[in-house]
Assembly symmetry: C2
Homo-oligomer: 341 residues x 2
Amino acid sequence: MKFDPLFEALKEKIKIVDEVIFELIPEKEPKIIYDAARHYPLAGGKRIRPFIVLTSTEAVGGNPEKAVYAAAAVELLHNYSLVHDDIMDMDEKRRGRPTVHKVWGVNMAILAGDLLFSKVFEAVAKIPVEAEKVVKVLDVISKTSNELCEGQARDLEFENKETVTIDEYMKMISGKTGALIDASATIGGLIGTENNEYIQALSKYGRNVGIAFQIWDDVLDLIADEEKLGKPVGSDIRKGKKTIIVAHFLENASEEDKLKFFKVFGKYAGDVKGEGIIEEDIQEEVKKAIDLLKKYGSTDYAANLARKLIEEAKEALKALPESEARKHLELLADFIVEREY
Amino acid sequence: MKFDPLFEALKEKIKIVDEVIFELIPEKEPKIIYDAARHYPLAGGKRIRPFIVLTSTEAVGGNPEKAVYAAAAVELLHNYSLVHDDIMDMDEKRRGRPTVHKVWGVNMAILAGDLLFSKVFEAVAKIPVEAEKVVKVLDVISKTSNELCEGQARDLEFENKETVTIDEYMKMISGKTGALIDASATIGGLIGTENNEYIQALSKYGRNVGIAFQIWDDVLDLIADEEKLGKPVGSDIRKGKKTIIVAHFLENASEEDKLKFFKVFGKYAGDVKGEGIIEEDIQEEVKKAIDLLKKYGSTDYAANLARKLIEEAKEALKALPESEARKHLELLADFIVEREY
């Protein structure tokens, strides 16, 4: 199949990164905080970000072995942000397991996230390249984690807003998911080369892939096969999540259709079974809301935007010499907007 | 007065650090998270840690101007830990103002703490010394923030424990307050010199001062003048806080006296006014508990331990050449166990 070489490379490259991750967060005292910190990394995850670090180093002609600690750092940063975001979003499940705060309570979850964040920088200090490069990586990672916080702050603000524009959405998502994938590619480049043109190409690739990744997630929520997705279609609409699709709809729909949409949007966030509402009725309502989004081309708009970002990402990669690693990065970009789950 | 030269030096040195702190966390978008992050730094605080960084650099013959970003980094790290600890401890006031989570809610407080933590590393990347030294500072700071998390995890665990030993207390406090003051002195040394003997002396000084600082706080809670302290004497007993004084008492008291103590300890944590208990009666009960601690010499034990740690801290400093900066570090050590608030 098209993506098999990608999945094989991913599986192979990730082993050594996992070794380093669990060397940084071993089983040790105080047990409770290390157990909590290990919870998500042990549960798996796609490990796309560390894969991008290693493959980017390779794609610019560098030695990926030098990038293993950097790869562990971005994965730890990703996991820290998941732990804290899950508290804020009151999510109960992640990677098929109860979230950290569900198992250990909010206080220990805050602390476990803090420890993971701290370990990011312990990992950076261990990157076996010239100190000048380590400081450059540190600069990129710290600015990236600023951006993550800013993106999440914007996302929290969305909850208190009636409407969100496409522009506001793009700013939020650029910080919340674009920044870290950008950083993964950029850091991989920094470790492997002195060629700024290559590094900038990788940065552009990563930013676009990161943004497209989230947009495609939002699209899948509306168009996916429920069984493949593993959750009910339209769950974002139930929760009232302000995606780019909703932002496009709000900028284009008639007042009448907006009113219809808001009758459903965010109305089935919690458990409404006890209120005498039956699941079939909800699904019917949600389906109508999805049809409204389709009526104004909002779903297509988002899907096309994601595909366009991916094309631009692959275009940017052409600044790099042809190689197997570059091929893998291209495949990964395609995978983002061809996946069905 | 004895400490006037210290206070003057502190006031003078801190100006430039504050400039850098607010350069790192300016007023900017998204406004809400930057406002929340600026809340504690704007409220003041003693700035002892950045003072130790700059003065340590000077005391080993280095240029303190090179240490300003490092000083800002440790103060930001301190403030991040305060924001998150206040959430965990459900504290409502800090530096005379409502805590961050009281003003902006728990979610934004988690995020503001995260941003402050992130800014620590942005500051480290900006330290204007050779890259090799920056990486050394990064290594110290990241391991210190691991220790902070571990210390706070131990502290949270204390809440679920019936008793705590002196040994367990010392481990907790070494991480929670010893590590960061150790790091402040160590980093100041690292920036100013290549002499490892000096750096180790400063590390020992900082660790001891940090531990003594917390122990003296615990002592003051029992012996201070209520007006100078700004809170009721024995408030740790009301809250059931397991200090080293309590640990010593539990290791030495008779079963009968322990039972008497536990009748009061932690029993007046929240607002008990509505339960028909009057303040005078509580104060009488708390006074009896304090007398029990004194009966077994537990308060004296702690006070003497703090003084001994300070003597050792000053002894360690003798490895450094005599200078005004060293004198200030000595004065600061004395101040820790001579202050009445």
